[in-house]
Amino acid sequence: MEGNDFEPIIVTFCCNWCSYAGADLAGTSRLQYPPNIRIIRVMCSGMVHPNLVIDALTKGADGVLVCGCHPGDCHYIDGNLKAEKRAEAIELMLEDFGLEPERFRLEWVSASEGPRFAQVVTEMVEQVKSVGPSPYRT
């Protein structure tokens, strides 16, 4: 699993209203992006509690990507802003669990941004590949 052969598993939380549709658009537009992500559809990025992120990272995932609507576009008005506030706390938790900050990323992807979704995923996979497998992975 070392070096170039390492294929990370990245758990991706996509909000139902923007990012999941964006991911869908990337698929229907036949955009190419690495197959390392596992998308979990959630109603809002604001419901992704830090517990979910830390659990994913300590129980087998190499990275976590959270995608939500652009600020101001949230279906629930301010869910994505809550996610943004939490992101900082999540970075601290990563530190406390001895994980690299590169393993977590919060991105805004709207329903029309299929290419952006593909680009974010490509970047994220590169980023996680550069830090290697999660130390919690057995």
Partner: protein
């Protein structure tokens, strides 16, 4: 016929035993029904026979076994296993037995790092070899009792509330199950909560609290809202005691201190560190201001793999 009780202390300060004595008058009602057959803290009962004639560690059979303290070395592991074999119902008493307790903060480092720090690295210590003769070897980390043997009843607390010991023993004598409710200390806390936001900065833990003694509890502001980090929201309730006036007040709050989290996570599998940091960031506090987050939010619960040496980062 009285119920036989065996009590054993492992990696512990002895505070939980004091808590048993602190039961006070209810103990007088309980005592006729209990017969202590083994209790190193109170009575002379040796492991290998009274004159050392035995070859195997032996603890007399008992109906109820009480273990306080976590498991740190081979001897304690052996004693815990023997206790499990000889007792029908095993109680883990106190935070050390239930979650590892204060000593389990050492789980943040490997055994080699600890030895180096204690016997060689510390400036006030003369450098020496790690002692190995006539001492049971340490285990790789501090374990909670339930990681080593099955535990039937767990009574957390540092030290635990004497009322809880009575409650648990009474339940066992009557054949009823004993379980703490799955709710937080805040659910039991009578203080006044106004609004969550507008707290500003987290105060330093030693800054003294402003309060009016004798003020009714419902007029006292929530300590968290005053800016003191209180572990109440992520800690299991059960410590609250009824005081004058019939109000139930958590024990630390009663002394105008914030909750320190000795009752452990609200439910099995919860992670107070993650929950607490998530909570304080969502009410507008800066989680970066929490000093020594990892140790502070895992102060009593470092066993059960909650605290472990940080994985080594690859050199980059």
């Amino acid at each position: 016929m009285p119920v036989k009780v065996a009590e054993e202390w492992l990696n512990i300060c002895g505070g939980c035993e004091v808590s048993i004595l602190d039961i006070g008058e209810p103990l007088l009602d309980l005592l006729p029904e209990l017969e202590f057959v083994h209790m190193p803290v109170l009575m002379d009962h040796k492991y290998f026979g009274q004159t050392g004639e035995g070859t195997e560690l032996e603890i007399p059979e008992a109906d109820i076994g009480i273990i306080s303290g976590g498991v740190r070395n081979e001897k304690e592991k052996h004693v815990a296993e023997e206790m499990r074999k000889k007792t029908n119902t095993l109680i883990a008493l106190g935070s050390c037995a239930s979650f590892g307790g204060i000593p389990a903060m050492a789980n943040m480092w490997t055994l080699e790092e600890l030895y180096d720090k204690v016997y060689r690295g510390s400036k006030t210590t003369e450098s020496a070899d790690t002692p190995s003769e006539n001492l049971p070897p340490l285990l790789d980390r501090v374990y909670a009792v339930d990681e080593v043997v099955n535990v039937d009843v767990s009574i957390p607390g540092c030290p635990t509330n004497p009322d809880l010991i009575v409650e648990a023993l009474t339940c066992l004598l009557e054949g009823k199950p004993f379980e703490l409710p799955e709710k937080s200390v805040c659910d039991d806390c009578p203080v006044k909560r106004e609004k969550k936001a507008d707290i500003g900065q987290i105060k330093r833990p030693l800054e003294s609290m402003e309060f009016k003694q004798g003020e009714p509890w419902e007029n006292t502001r929530c300590f968290m809202e005053l800016g003191y980090l209180c572990l109440g929201p992520v800690t299991r309730s059960g410590c609250a005691r009824t005081i004058d006036g019939g109000v139930k007040v958590p024990r630390c709050v009663q002394g105008y201190m914030t909750c320190r989290g000795c009752f452990g996570p609200i439910r099995k599998g919860a992670n107070p560190l993650v929950d607490m940091l998530g909570a304080i960031s969502s009410i507008g506090l800066n989680p970066r201001e929490v000093i020594d987050r990892r140790a502070l939010l895992n102060r009593y619960i470092g066993g059960q793999k909650r605290l472990r040496p940080l994985p080594k980062r690859p050199a980059r």
